[in-house]
Symmetry: C2
Subunit: 846 residues, 2 copies
């Protein structure tokens, strides 16, 4: 039995890592084939590295393990290098322990420091070495290895791989060291490198290693919220991977507090904490900790660590053996449970969920997407292939158009939601006031309601906001037109109807459905009570085709007007320009609308148009059709002149969805009532608001409670949703937090590359394109059963896009990309390029 | 100029506190007449006491202040006493500083230690002193005072009052010291004592002090989550008061992390952190802190504290003067802003809110309740009297019946909501699966849906859950009765109606309204589109009057059946007993229902009863009527025999509201479809679920997407709501967390004292009482305009109850108390006693 020890310092890195250089594509997927944990601590110097070393010993030196194991220890960020090197510590301790414990199996250990700042590299290699890696770094190539033969020298060796990814010389917080040593590394680079190491090492270097059990531990630097090299807090830096966590707590006086707070900060970033471990200081800190954790997370207590710095800790490791074994077992079982659950989820989902808008018969097991988490605009999705891995997909359907937050806002929302839940939970709204609801109402009236609205009525969803709006409008209409005068006993014989656009959608509750034209959603099969209480006009639409914006008029409008055919626009801006108010087309629109209204009221009966309801600019669920804004403006003016209240359904369009905070700005006119939802809470929880003018409000004032608007929902004005709304509304419009804000705060900069959009509109398979604000939609040319809501025509295309990391969901043969108000144009372009490529492929196959 | 110094040790406490003994009623209100702050630290030994002393110096020793100030320093919990005494430290340092700075005005200082554990008292007074205060404590009566004359000796003196409320000898965490010294004090006692000191000192001891500016600082012990004497974490212990916070952070290496985590733990408990302050260690920790805080919370950096223990810190205080001045200014301005906002809120609310179910004309400014926060079942309410204070009111309306959490669950929910927001925000539901939605569906099917439901359909509110249920039921009915057979082109001529009970309420959206009988909510004034698509039966009800449970039959039922008059029950249990299935009454119910159904279907036309919809046991919004459960069971059986799908609307009754997890258990029969909401998320955010049997689900299976249930809402199955539901459902049913769980988990123990309920039912002003599960409702005898939903008859009574700390909201002349599933019967009794007293008064005035 002997042990060999080698220390190599080579500029081209160590032998067995050479194959890395052949991997050109950076790995983006996180393998789940083996357990990987992040080791966090509630403060510095609490023994993260001792815990890592103890876990390594438990994995590699146990007499019981039957097949060779690999233990991968990664230290992404090391300061104080080379005098401090945690990977070197783990490497050395394991070497000593393997000799001491005389384990049965051979052990091959290595320690590798990949990159160091120039000062750190100089400290190792001597002065004057220039950087040769990333900006400010040297590819250090520090490599040492050691082999312990063990009793069964002929058996396959277990393996300890220790790696430091980035090292700095100063023994300070990484952000300071990086600044001082002029060697800053971006978060994405750290993650890429980390993922690469995890993937390479867990796949093994060659065939003979494939059978190995691999156990990976990634040790963070300092406390959980200590800044990383870029200045991001480490708990934020590692958040995209959402690796399960081990928290090294503090057993000292005051340590309960720091441990609990650190635990909460990890939870507030979506981490799962699998176990807490800390050094015993005789204060029985585990008792209050376990009580706080309600025994759901185990707390492991390590024996006191000798204070004498010369102590080699061998006895301490021996003493701690049992603790590390049970910690490791807990980690392994947490890993197995997670993997089992991830595998089982699609089957269970198909058994017990009833998904909306989904024909379950058409969803095979493999089609169910397991969403492990969201990070800003991206989903982390579990894939049941290659032993399982987590991959990233851009949420291009914006999760039913609710999404807006970038990763930073998401964390801030998490903290604010927690705050609101602790401060209020939900509290009773009527006749009461509390800060989040008041602040939210203030922001709504100063923002999307500015200049016209004076009152905010809260509810839970777009549908309920619409039902409330209709009740408001009908009361106002009845009030203005004497229908409610007390001596009018004929109230019931009056039928109030809406004026609306064909293709509009306002929600799925009956009242909202009644305000929309017949469609696939409204048949007897779906809603036996639907009758369609409205006059539904076919709207003129605009769209881009072959790089040009065109106007498309419905038959009723262009018939007999040959000059109305083939109207095109030089730019999208022209479409919205108010100069069009004086055009012939405006005149034509106006007389068409007047004529429709008189025809309707002249048709006899007791029917009155009691409200105009419209989705400004974009008919969303109806297929992402862009209505000619001039038509909608004329419509509003016609109704206003007849004292018909105007409702804008801004549930989809509100809060920058179309590039302005309210789509009323695009139409250049205001409503009497408007409905908001979706993006209002930044895509967190349901909340809706119906805003109204003072004139609408006063039509409900009277001496009796029975005159009031008697409509409410349990969670009306709920504090948590209002808090999320306050944060999101502010965040989206503040140029400090939303870099897309342009035009002095009035609009977003262009998010979709205009050239690319034009190119897409020129692809033969594409019938029309609409790109506006956060939306880029297109309709595929399709006929017969390939067209319309039930169509599955786009599914092969969408499947390809998902493989590209773009999660889309079609509206029949209409597909769209949707980003958040803060998403960078660069990211949008990346996604758009993928769409373009796949569309061209699609075009060739059809 | 001279200074005097006195140290008194008296068993009866110091002179100027004597009047306390005359205050028998413990103060429950928190005065806001002067600023009061909690001083927290992210760890022990970071200088909380230095900060407190610095603030005291800034308040009392500044040359600029024009009128005398009082600085109140409170240390509720002190360990290591008497060698450690923070109040003594502040007292001594201020004395030294006042001499050193030679301030203009006289200063009167005192330090008082109120209670000490026996060992701590012995250390002061000598061995062998027995306890004479609360269990394990001595009223120590340690008191010292000192007077500094200043240049203007004749001016009114400023005042420093330092107090330690509870002291222990061991220098360990308070929970350990309290255990070891056998002197545990409950959280409520600490708070009561703290409130008493705040009130006494901010009111001043006599008239001459009323003009003083008072500034109060309460210093916590250890870190923010260090356990207090009872074992509760201090951040939980002080939560009911929600005092604004100063966080003393950590300027050392690793201190950024601890400071941020501590900040987050405070936010997660609803605290407002006004400023962060820490000692400079040369690491510029303020930069990442300010970046994290987005400059919204100021960070103050104190000069390094001399390490030499013999240093008297005088120079350090001089050096820190500017920092403390600006910290104090920030605290004062935060206080002023808060007070201004609290005062302005009612006015602003009346200007911009549009409250549901509220006639704004009937809400004068003084009637608006400002809810500052919630702590478990209690509201903290701002009162604009006596210079402003915060008072507690029991949320007896359970905030529109949504509330359940006790204070502990509230904090756990806050953390879990934050976790879900960080991990998911909201993610797309259809064809996807993610942990919170899956777990929630599993818990629903294992719990409220056990034994019958196989699918969970999520939506946002009770109303939407009902609309979905109706669509499910009608499809199932059509499927079963051949209405949907493909060759049936007459679909549209069939009218599907519901069978429902008069007095039911199912929500305010049109579809839900159509399923209820005409009422105050359904007139043309409220909902012009309402027609009432149902056969509505008058139900027999049961109620307690004069201590006896009676049955009341509607006219249609008892007519001609004299033996049906005056049916009474020996107990509530008898009402629910299945033995009644064999009674004559069951027979009568059955034939009555059959007859009604045949009459209806025999009336010609295309009308079919396509669904039975009912609120099991209690018609809630309709006036808290308890329907005879036998009648509902017979109804269900009759419908089932006719293949009419049965819908239970459990939005109100679900999740232990009536003492069982589902009210179906009370009826002893199951539905085909059931709707849940309200309590499901523990009263945090909107979420609803419609559960269905497999037979209902399969009626939507087909080859086309158009056969699927095309109904959804943006936030369907939102991760945050599902997470809250998972936590709440588990919490409510677990005997470990809900001490009310009885009968092997099947029901809650009796929450309302039966004798008291009987007594209330015997008060002449009370017409009927229903007490069941978390509900105790009564109807006041009233006639004419005093009866019904619009009635204001109960308002004087409710006003009195609010003065008693009970927040109720009536349904016309029906008033009720509602607690959470975990509320202790003791608390319920306290509230019930208040109601009883006020009812007797009310009775005398009428």
């Amino acid at each position: 039995m002997f042990s060999s020890c080698t220390l190599l310092l080579r500029r081209d890195g160590p032998r067995h890592l050479k194959h890395l250089s052949t991997t050109t594509r950076l790995p983006a997927d996180l393998p789940l084939s083996h357990p990987t944990f992040l080791v966090w601590a509630s403060n510095t110097s609490l023994g993260k590295t001792l815990v890592s070393a103890g876990l390594a010993a438990s994995s590699l030196l146990s007499k019981s393990h039957s097949r060779p194991r690999k233990f991968l220890y990664l230290k992404p960020v090391q300061t104080g290098f080379p005098s401090d090197s945690d990977s070197s510590f783990v490497y050395r301790k394991l070497s000593s322990l393997s000799l001491r414990r005389n384990s049965l199996f051979p052990l091959f250990s290595s320690n590798h420091v990949l990159r160091a700042s120039v000062p750190a590299a100089n400290a190792v290699l001597g002065q004057g070495i220039a950087e040769n890696g990333e900006c400010g770094f040297r590819n250090l190539g520090w490599y040492e290895e050691r082999r312990f033969e063990g009793e069964r020298a002929s058996a396959a060796a277990s393996e300890l791989v220790c790696k430091t990814l980035y090292a700095w010389r100063d023994a300070v917080s990484p952000h300071l060291a990086a600044q001082r040593e002029n060697a800053v590394v971006e978060d994405a680079a750290v993650l890429r490198e980390l993922l690469r190491c995890l993937r390479v090492e867990s796949e093994g270097g060659g065939d003979e290693k494939k059978e190995m059990d691999v156990f990976c531990v990634v040790e963070t630097a300092g406390g959980i919220a200590s800044p990383g090299p870029s200045g991001s807090l480490q708990c934020d830096l590692y958040r995209p991977l959402r690796l399960p966590a081990i928290l090294v707590g503090d057993g000292r006086l005051g340590g309960i507090s720091g441990t609990i707070s650190a635990y909460e900060s990890l939870k507030l970033r979506g981490y799962d904490v699998v176990a807490v471990v800390f050094e015993d200081h005789g204060l029985v800190n585990e008792v209050p900790l376990l009580s706080y954790l309600r025994n759901r997370v185990p707390v492991h207590v390590l024996p006191p660590i000798p204070e004498d710095l010369s102590n080699d800790l061998m006895e301490w490791f021996d003493e701690s053996c049992g603790v590390f074994d049970s910690l490791k077992e807990k980690m392994l079982s947490a890993y197995s449970e997670r993997i089992k659950r991830l595998h089982d989820m699609p089957k269970k989902a198909r058994e017990i969920f009833w998904w909306p808008f989904t024909q379950h018969k058409l969803v095979p097991k493999g089609a169910v997407t397991v969403i492990d988490s969201r990070y800003g605009e991206n989903f982390a999705i579990f894939k049941d292939q290659n032993n399982g891995f987590i991959t990233q997909q851009f949420d291009a359907c914006a999760s039913w158009w609710t999404q807006g937050p970038d990763a930073t806002l998401q964390t801030e929302l998490a903290r604010d939601l927690g705050y609101a839940a602790a401060r209020f939970g939900h509290v009773m709204f009527p006749e009461n006031v509390y800060e989040p609801a008041l602040k939210c109402a203030e922001l709504l009236l100063e923002g999307v309601g500015k200049g016209w609205a004076t009152r905010a009525y809260f509810s839970d969803s777009g549908s309920t906001a619409i039902e409330i709006a209709l009740k408001m409008a009908f009361r106002k209409f009845s009030f203005d037109h004497g229908i409610l005068s007390e001596d009018n006993a004929a109230g019931r014989s009056v039928e109030l109807m809406v004026l609306a656009l064909r293709g509009s959608y306002h929600g799925d509750t009956l009242g909202a459905m009644e305000a929309q034209a017949p469609s696939a959603y409204t048949g007897f099969l779906q809603q036996p009570w639907y009758t369609g209480r409205g006059l539904f006009l076919d709207p003129p639409t605009v769209y881009m085709c072959n790089g040009v914006w065109n106007l498309s008029l419905p038959e009723g409008l262009c018939f007999g007007n040959p000059k109305l055919e083939n109207i095109a626009f030089s730019s999208r801006n022209e479409i919205f320009h108010r100069i069009r108010d004086n055009s012939d087309l405006a005149e034509i629109y106006s007389s068409y609308i007047s004529q429709q209204l008189s025809q309707y009221s002249g048709s006899g009966g007791f029917n009155h148009i009691g409200a105009l309801i419209l989705e400004p600019v974009i008919l969303a669920a109806g297929g992402m059709h862009m209505v000619d804004p001039l038509f909608q403006r004329v419509l509003v003016n016609e109704c206003r002149s007849k004292r018909i209240p105007v409702i804008f359904d801004e549930v989809f369009t509100g809060f920058w969805r179309l590039g302005t905070e309210t789509a009323a700005d695009l139409l250049c006119c205001v409503p009497d009532i408007a409905c908001f939802g979706k993006l209002m809470t930044g895509g967190t929880v349901p909340l809706a608001a119906t805003l109204a003018t003072n004139a609408v409000f006063t039509s409900f004032i009277g001496d009796s409670k029975l005159n009031a608007l008697l409509h409410g929902h349990s969670y009306t004005g709920h504090a948590i949703g209002c808090t999320a709304a306050v944060k999101s509304i502010d965040w989206f419009k503040d140029p400090q937090t939303n870099l897309n804000i342009a035009s002095e705060g009035r609009s977003l900069r262009e998010l979709w590359d205009e050239d690319l959009v034009r190119q897409i509109s020129s692809i033969p398979a594409v019938q029309r394109v609409v790109a506006l604000g956060t939306l880029c939609a297109l309709e595929l040319r399709a006929e017969g059963h390939n067209a319309g809501y039930g169509s599955l025509y786009a599914s092969s295309l969408l499947q390809k896009l998902r493989e590209d990391g773009v999660y889309t969901r079609p509206l029949g043969n209409v597909i769209y990309l949707m980003c958040g108000p803060c998403t960078s144009p660069e990211l949008c372009s990346q996604v758009l390029v993928k769409l373009h490529t796949r569309l061209e492929e699609f075009c060739q196959t059809k």
